[in-house]
């Protein structure tokens, strides 16, 4: 296994699989779905060696591959993973299977193109997480937008065009600034290798500009307040699978960007401007939670909930400087950053599961409005059980994965400042309030209308998807140690790196 270019396979196998599916075409819809499923399953299986063969003792890049691509500019096809990106790749390969299963019977319109879009997107997302060359990263980063744009634009709801264009423009605008920053860095370091950029010394002033350029790109993706309003629209219009990928993986790209680019390349600017990110994160947690409370559309509610939960990730990434100032040790920062990463992974499972749950209801009643439901537990008891579990996980109940990251970030944030921890911990109340209030109005109560009375409980396929997610959510809640073990060396190293100044000595 060691000789196989695993990362390349994880990128190109799904893309080629997607093209194959396109060639087979809609006419043979019955063949398309199994092909897509098999491709995604094989990809997932092939991603497992990344986890089991991973050396947890080192922060170095592993499973590296390097080929010259455009030698004139020193651009390489350079891949590799560390403890931060590897779990995200597994999250991608895992989620793609579920998305393909989720679209099985539901997507009758152009199923081949639908499945192909998801497979190609899977490959591109794996590319984003494994690229070690800035240009290669940028190419994947942009390319990934296209299938998602198509998914929203073709299989979306009534306002899909507005949502798709809003999505595209927001993210595109952000990434253009990133490209400019990368080009500037190239002229400084004379290299596009991300690891070279990490060690390139930079004056504080230029660090700040680069930091801000990156910030726009990544903040849009996360999304952070106030550049978040594309997300609820995109989610509402996207088909279920699109929402799942968007919430589970695409949002993580922003968080990943902070860890791979902003923090290591511009550590001094990060330290100078950490208050700004912390403030935005806390606004995301508190303000957005209140916005979520007011939502009448289930998908919008979960979308806002996603923004609030991602606030924990960005908070965890940037609070380390304050903790270091107070305690003189990176330990607290490590705990916070690991908490943030766990939060990203866990949010992938939970938000994905919640969107799938909404999808299950939408497939039956063709409404996402909370007011159109009520008393679903009466007719769909099995579904209600799953929905309850994921709702509780979203509310951060211990023994679900949703608890782990939030708890670690709160514990660590306390070492920085009492009020930051308190503001973050308010999600325990607010998150429970908006999630369980929705459960009360949708799941509980007497049957409110004929539509609900006629609902059929989840079928075998839906049960399978939700069961798999339930197991994962509980497993990482009860025993998150393996997840933290793989990222520990990398995060330690990153924290060590960012507390050193990169400003050149005069």
């Amino acid at each position: 296994m060691a000789d196989l270019p695993l990362l390349s396979i994880l990128i190109w196998l799904p893309i080629l699989g997607g093209i194959w599916v396109l060639i087979v075409g809609d006419k043979q819809a019955s063949a398309v779905r199994p092909i897509a499923l098999i491709v995604s399953l094989v990809t997932f299986l092939l991603s497992l060696p990344l986890f089991f063969g991973f050396d947890t003792t080192t922060a170095n890049m592993q499973f590296t591959e390097q080929l010259a691509w455009i030698p004139a500019f020193g651009i390489n096809y350079h891949l590799g993973v560390d403890g931060i990106s590897m779990p995200l790749i597994l999250l991608t390969t895992f989620t793609t299977i579920l998305v393909i299963l989720a679209g099985w019977e539901v997507i009758q319109d152009k199923p081949a193109q639908y499945m192909a879009a998801f497979l190609i997107m899977e490959g591109l997302m794996n590319g984003v997480f494994s690229a070690l060359d800035a240009i290669l990263f940028y190419v994947y980063w942009e390319a990934m937008l296209i299938p998602m744009f198509l998914i929203i634009g073709i299989w979306g709801g009534p306002r899909r065009v507005y949502a798709a264009i809003k999505f595209f423009l927001y993210t595109f605008f952000g990434s253009v600034l990133m490209l400019i920053a990368l080009l500037y860095l190239y002229f400084q370091a004379n290299s596009f290798a991300i690891l070279d950029l990490h060690t390139q010394s930079l004056a504080l002033e230029s660090q700040k500009w680069i930091f801000l350029a990156f910030l726009v790109a990544f903040a849009v993706k996360v999304p952070m307040w106030p550049v978040h309003t594309w997300l609820p629209d995109a989610h509402v219009e996207a088909p279920t699978g699109g929402s799942v990928i968007l919430a589970a993986i695409m949002l993580k790209m922003g968080g990943y960007g902070f860890l791979r680019f902003s923090l290591p390349i511009t550590p001094d600017a990060s330290r100078e401007l950490d208050w700004f990110i912390i403030a935005l994160s806390l606004i995301a947690i508190v303000y957005i939670s209140f916005v979520a409370l007011a939502q009448k559309d289930m998908k919008k509610l979960i979308a806002y909930s996603s923004i609030a939960h991602m606030g924990f990730a960005t908070l965890g990434f940037f609070i380390g400087f304050m903790i270091y100032n107070n305690t003189g040790s990176i330990d607290g920062g490590v705990m916070a950053m690991e908490g943030g990463i766990v939060q990203m992974i866990s949010h992938g499972f939970i938000s994905g599961a919640l969107f799938l749950c909404v999808g299950v209801l939408y497939d039956r009643l063709h409404s996402r409005q909370i007011a159109d439901y009520g008393g679903v537990a009466n007719t769909m008891p099995r579904f209600a059980m799953f929905a309850m579990l994921f709702a509780m996980a979203n509310a951060g109940l211990p023994a679900t994965s949703g608890f782990v990251g939030e708890f670690l970030v709160i514990l660590a944030a306390f070492k920085a400042n009492f009020w930051i921890a308190a503001a973050a911990a308010s999600i325990m109340i607010l998150g429970a309030a908006y999630t369980l209030w929705m459960v009360k109005r949708v799941i509980y109560g007497a049957v409110t209308n004929e539509g609900v009375a006629k609902l059929k409980d989840i079928n075998g396929r839906e049960t399978l998807i939700l069961t798999v997610l339930a197991i994962v959510v509980l497993l990482f809640g009860v025993w998150p140690a393996p997840l933290l073990e793989v990222m520990d060396a990398t995060v330690q190293n990153l924290l060590q790196h960012i507390i050193q100044s990169k400003i050149p000595l005069m």
Binding site: G339, L397, W479, L484
Partner: protein, 651 residues
């Protein structure tokens, strides 16, 4: 012994999974869960024998590492000492009785299996809570019992009142948990560990940073901050003012869980937690003062509310609030042992009273209004006798169990006042003292209205009145026995002996329970008979007799004459209205404002304005392009594939 501890915890979990997930029959569901909890009970007795009687050292071991982050090991593990052993026996016994009782109470309910699954799951969670050896697992158990409480209050989920009550319960508890989680964070920051033994050791040796900066410039005592934050958690779970509002509404759940969760076990978790943290609380007089005041307010004012309720379960619920206040007062007086002692006696007699109320409710065909009862004693002799026993125990007449624990608390508060002084302890003393009169008054009001006097039910109900079946009366009898006896047999070792040595810590000069003043059970009773509480309880009983047997027309007159006072009590000090208006309403208002104004008007307004401008600009240059995003998209993707493919393939 580790396997025994594991079995105690896992048996109910497995029982819950089998009963809940596999669509088993009713018989299987109740057999499996009763068997599992029965096993836990028997093993708890073994543990009790092992630790307490045989005198083995406490068990403190790690099961597995939950995770390691930032140099901190978060672990799951058990600490079993005399305090835990006591809790195990109480929890497993009450839970087991409630399991039996449920067979009768839920006989006709379509959610029979689900119910057994939930209460078994609850038992598991409660075990995890009391057996924890660290703050993390404590929080696990803490939240897990909250979850099951939520599920069970909303068990009849088609009723609006039930799903209102369970959401309210969960959110109010989350307010407490918010403080609790911050308290745990403060512990971690101060001691760099979450393991009890390590934290308590460091706290006692004084090797920690003693201040926390809350507002910049002012330093607070770390121990005060930690203890008050942790206690906020206890205020939620143990329903202390002002977080008490969820408990009366939790009566929407089926009666067995009112007995198990909302009287005997879960609501006492806060009391248990503070007793467990006694090495920390002892270091902050400020925190103890806070605790005693909150407890006294709860004990006194919640008891008053019991006087005006008509729903039999709500009377018992307000009584529970008041009694939890008593326990909290004991904690605040540094009489942790007395708090735990009252926790134990209360678990038996309050579970008994709830199950007795449930027995009445079964016989009355799910009527809970005492105004429609009366004279039930001749139809339901066993329920009556056991309820009478529970009432006597609750009021604290010697030699029933409640007498010992309540008198001990009142004495302790008195001593605490002598030791510490201050208006707070004086207030607490008078609150618990007058509380005795109120307790006797509402308890016997309930007993007289239900079992004595005129039969006020309709003809149809009366014809069908009969004693409930043995699965219901059996647990009543089983709980009545300890309600009578447990106090006199355990007061010596628990309060004045060495029982809690090593698990509860009291600074010697604080200790309000003086072993030298204790001269055996008979001495304690003799002393009690000449003290004020006994006579106050008797006065309460007499008043209840006069008002509800002798002159039953009087209460209505009094209610009318007292006007605004009565109104305040009926409205429960307007706490619910205030919360609904201020917190629930306020949050929704803020929500729609932030959404409609912040997101829609300001942010999207700006973005869409920008988009319009760009749209105008682009209309000028539009001719240059095809305008189909598909074209661009596919051009880009094909270009990418070719480009990258070329590199890989050619090389």
């Amino acid at each position: 012994m580790q396997n025994v501890y594991l079995a105690i915890v896992l048996a109910p979990l497995i029982g819950a999974i089998i009963a809940g997930l596999f669509g088993v029959s009713r018989k299987v569901a109740h057999s499996v869960t009763i068997g599992a909890v029965g096993l836990s009970f028997l093993l708890s007795l073994v543990v009790f024998w092992h630790i307490v009687i045989a005198g083995n050292a406490p068990f403190n071991e790690t099961l597995y590492t939950w995770l390691i982050a930032g140099g901190i090991r978060f672990e799951i593990g058990f600490l079993v000492d005399s305090l835990t052993a006591l809790m195990l026996v109480v929890v497993s016994f009450v839970s087991w009785m409630v399991h039996f009782y449920t067979i009768g109470y839920m006989k006709d309910d379509p959610g029979y299996q689900r119910f057994f699954s939930y209460i078994s799951l609850f038992t598991f969670a409660m075990f995890m809570l009391v057996m924890s050896n660290n703050f993390l697992q404590l929080f696990f158990g803490w939240e897990a019992v909250g979850l099951v409480s939520y599920l069970l209050i909303g068990f009849w989920y088609t009723r609006d009142s039930a799903i209102y009550a369970n959401l309210k319960a969960f959110l109010v508890n989350r307010v407490g948990d918010f403080g609790f989680a911050l308290g745990i964070a403060a512990v971690l920051m101060t001691f760099n560990s979450l393991n009890y033994a390590e934290v308590f050791g460091l706290a006692q040796s004084g090797e920690y940073q003693e201040t926390i900066s809350i507002f910049s410039g002012t330093e607070w005592s770390a121990m005060t901050v930690i203890c008050i934050l942790l206690f906020v958690g206890a205020m939620g779970k143990s329903a202390q003012f002002p977080l008490h509002v969820w408990l009366p509404d939790s009566m929407e759940g089926p009666t067995p869980i009112s007995a198990l969760i909302h009287a005997a076990t879960m609501v006492t978790a806060g009391i248990f937690m503070v007793a467990r943290m006694s090495p920390l609380f002892e270091l902050s007089t400020t925190a103890l003062t806070f605790v005693i005041v909150i407890g006294a307010i709860t004990a006194f004012f919640m008891g008053l509310l019991g006087l005006v309720q008509h729903d039999i379960k709500r009377v018992v619920a307000y009584s529970t609030l008041s009694q939890l206040g008593y326990m909290t007062v004991a904690l605040g007086a540094s009489a942790y042992a007395a708090g735990i002692f009252h926790l134990m006696t209360h678990a038996f007699f309050k579970a008994l009273l709830f199950l007795g109320a449930g027995s009445v409710i079964i016989a009355m065909h799910h009527e809970q209004d005492m105004r429609k009862m009366g004279g039930l004693r001749k139809y339901m002799p066993i329920t009556y006798i056991t309820a009478l026993i529970g009432s006597i125990a609750l009021c604290g007449f010697p030699p029933f169990s409640g007498f010992f624990s309540k008198d001990a608390i009142i004495e302790a508060v008195h001593h605490a006042h002598e030791i510490r002084g201050g208006w707070q302890t004086a207030f607490a003393y008078y609150a618990v003292l007058i509380g005795v009169f109120i307790t006797a008054l509402y308890t016997f009001r309930m007993l007289f209205l239900t079992f004595h006097g005129k039969e006020r039910m309709d003809e149809h109900t009366r014809e069908h009145l009969k004693e409930t079946p043995w699965v219901v009366t059996g647990p009543l009898i089983a709980l009545a026995i300890p309600s009578v006896l447990i106090g006199m047999f355990t007061i010596g070792p628990l309060l004045f002996g060495q029982y809690f040595d090593g698990s509860i810590f009291v600074t010697p000069e604080h200790n309000p329970l003086n072993p030298e003043s204790y001269h055996g059970v008979l001495g304690f009773i003799g002393h009690g008979l000449i003290q004020l509480p006994f006579w106050l309880a008797l006065a309460g009983l007499g008043t209840a007799y006069f008002l509800y047997i002798k002159r039953p027309e009087l209460p209505a007159v009094i209610a009318e004459r007292s006007g605004i006072l009565y109104k305040i009590l009926v409205e429960k000090y307007f706490a619910d209205r205030f919360n609904d208006w201020f917190f629930a309403g306020g949050a929704r208002k803020i929500g729609s404002l932030t959404w409609q104004i912040g997101d829609v008007k300001l942010i999207d307004g700006f973005v869409n304005g920008l988009a319009k401008f760009v749209g105008w600009l682009s209309s000028v240059v539009r001719h240059l392009q095809t305008g189909f995003l598909y074209h661009y998209a596919f051009t880009m993707i094909i270009g990418l594939a070719v480009l990258l493919g070329w590199v890989v393939y050619i090389r």
